[in-house]
């Protein structure tokens, strides 16, 4: 790294180019609709979000599965773990065996946490995973054979 200022400058120019391109595209899209095409007409049915063509059933800003939150929380935990491991990865040769043992304990505690989370049902996505759920063929009503 001869000149870190130059590298940062290069990165900055590149980022600005990309941002500029993205914003230009967005501006162009609005311009086309508003000025060139003038196709923007508002009607109740047209403005509604897509729901297979039937009348909307309530708002989309509704509750969704709590498991997504659990995954997000676990992600924060493990991402912080990755961040904690970066300093070790930078210095692991200097730290030697002692550092390795420390990291092994750290990783072991986290692995234990992961195991506990999984045991408590972090990834149990549906109730039908239990063994007494009916097989799909049994659950289906008898289809009409004689039409």
């Amino acid at each position: 790294m001869a000149n870190s200022g130059l590298e940062v400058l290069g990165a900055t120019i590149f980022v600005l180019l990309c941002v500029g391109m993205g914003l230009t595209l967005l501006a162009l899209i609005r311009l086309m609709t508003k000025v060139v095409l003038k196709t923007e007409k508002h009607k109740e049915g047209k403005d509604a979000p897509y729901e297979c063509g039937v009348p909307l059933l309530g708002d989309a800003r509704t509750r969704f599965g709590v498991r997504f939150y659990l995954v997000a929380l676990s992600f924060v935990l493990f991402d912080v773990e990755t961040v904690f491991l970066i300093p070790y990865a930078v210095t692991f040769k200097q730290l030697g065996r002692e550092g390795l043992y420390a990291v092994l304990i750290f990783v072991a505690i986290l692995a234990l946490g992961l195991f506990y989370e999984l045991e408590r049902g972090l990834l149990t996505w549906s109730d039908s995973e239990s063994e007494d759920a009916p097989a799909p063929s049994e659950a289906l009503p008898a289809a009409g054979h004689g039409h």
Binding site: M1, N3, G5, L6, E7, V8, L9, G10, A11, I13, F14, V15, L17, C18, V19, M21, G22, L25, L26, L28, I29, M32, T33, L37, H42, E44, D47, A48, P49, Y50, E51, D59, A60, R61, T62, F64, F68, V71, F75, F78, D79, T82, L85, I86, A89, F92, K93, R97, L100, V103, V107, L110, A111, L114, L118, L122, L123, W125, S126, E129
Partner: protein, 379 residues
């Protein structure tokens, strides 16, 4: 500017790799769109786009000049991406009622930007030399290169999450939430994998990582220079390479991990409500992400721009060697892009719970084991 201690000519030469990388990515993306449709057609035994070409009936030459080229279609369909772009840009930019207008417009921007930014730290070729000035073909040789890759690729989750939430559509919301959960789950593995790769090379700079893999079989010398192709990262970190490729698929939301937009369940997923070029931006973002992942995979595990015989060519003509190195990296990236397409049109989709189980129960433990083993081996 002056306080940074930069001289004008150095800044001027820096523009060369910046514009080269930016232009190359922009130029290749439409070709990838065409290629994906052709590859898909070959795999499914169809013809694919074959009309909007240059020569032949229905071609541009006939439309503009009245020249039919003897009735044979040559490279038919090559202009399909152009036709697609014209179609997309001339569609109405639809924003659903009750959508968050600002976030709705911001989301495609965030889908397009992060994969582009990955290229900042990827060395695309050997150094060019112009009259004593050495121009490294890399946008920015940052000392924290690999952390840049990690942080930029995690930004991509914002695009899908914002798009899914802002649309005020149930399909979009479900697609966005699924995508976010999937991407953050696989990001942990990706971070751990990058850490072990970093420990192996003892450097975070992608430029130094390529140089570390720079030993090869030299056909002109007729012997191995250092330890041959064996210096490719994939031989030293095979598990890391495998995990990284899997995570790349998951991060790009490509099949078999295309939960966020699985058509059969969620219509279009997070971009159900998007039309016009805003949809096009999501679409482009996906192809740039494929390119970016191909570039990172080939740089970390497959020698980057290096090729057998580089030293001999460089001794004769450094600039020629640099140009070949550009082509070599391009070829390696294309191989991985084609691999991603091949997988997409071959494998069926996972179920969502299978995706999450693979991520948390298999990949994260494997990545942790890989990290510890790397530490043990390199200590």
């Amino acid at each position: 500017m002056l306080s940074l201690g930069l001289d004008a000519s150095a800044v001027g030469w820096k523009l060369l790799p910046v514009l080269l990388v930016f232009g190359a990515v922009l130029a290749v993306v439409p070709l990838l769109v065409y290629l994906e449709r052709k590859v898909c057609a070959w795999i499914q035994n169809r013809v694919g786009p074959n009309r909007v070409g240059l020569l032949g009936p229905d071609g541009l030459a006939q439309g503009v000049l009245g020249f039919s080229g003897g009735g044979k279609r040559i490279l038919g369909g090559l202009l399909q991406p152009l036709a697609d772009a014209i179609k997309l840009i001339s569609k109405e930019d639809f924003i659903p009622a009750q959508a968050d207008k600002f976030l709705f417009s911001l989301a495609p921007f965030f889908a397009l930007l992060p994969p582009f930014l990955t290229f900042v730290v990827v060395p695309v070729g050997a150094d060019l030399t112009f009259g004593g000035t050495t121009v490294p073909l890399i946008v920015a040789d940052l000392g924290v290169g690999m952390l840049w890759v990690l942080s930029v690729s995690s930004l991509a989750a914002y695009g899908v999450q914002l798009g899914g939430w802002a649309s005020n559509s149930k399909f979009s919301l479900l697609g966005g939430v699924r995508a976010t959960a999937q991407m953050i789950s696989y990001e942990i593995t990706m971070g751990l994998v990058l850490l072990s790769v970093f420990m192996h090379y003892d450097s975070l700079s992608l430029r130094e990582i390529v140089q570390a893999q720079a030993t090869y079989f030299d056909p002109l010398l007729g012997r191995l220079a250092a330890n041959g192709l064996g210096s490719w990262g994939v031989w030293h970190q095979p598990l890391a390479a495998l995990l990284f490729v899997i995570c790349a698929f998951a991060e790009n939301n490509r099949l078999p991990f295309d939960m966020p937009e699985c058509e059969a369940e969620l219509v279009g997923g997070y971009h159900t409500e998007y039309s016009s070029m805003k949809f096009g931006m999501f679409f482009q973002g996906e192809y740039i992400a494929m390119l970016a992942m191909g570039a990172v995979i080939s740089t970390l595990f497959f020698g980057g721009w290096h090729y057998p015989g580089y030293a001999s060519v460089a001794a004769a003509s450094p600039n020629l060697a640099a140009l070949i190195s550009l082509a070599v990296l391009g070829a390696k990236v294309m191989i991985f892009v084609l691999f991603q397409m091949w997988v997409r049109w071959t494998l069926p989709r996972f179920r969502y719970d299978q995706v999450m189980e693979l991520g948390w129960k298999v990949l994260i433990p494997l990545a942790l084991v890989n990290l510890v083993v790397t530490a043990l081996v390199n200590l």
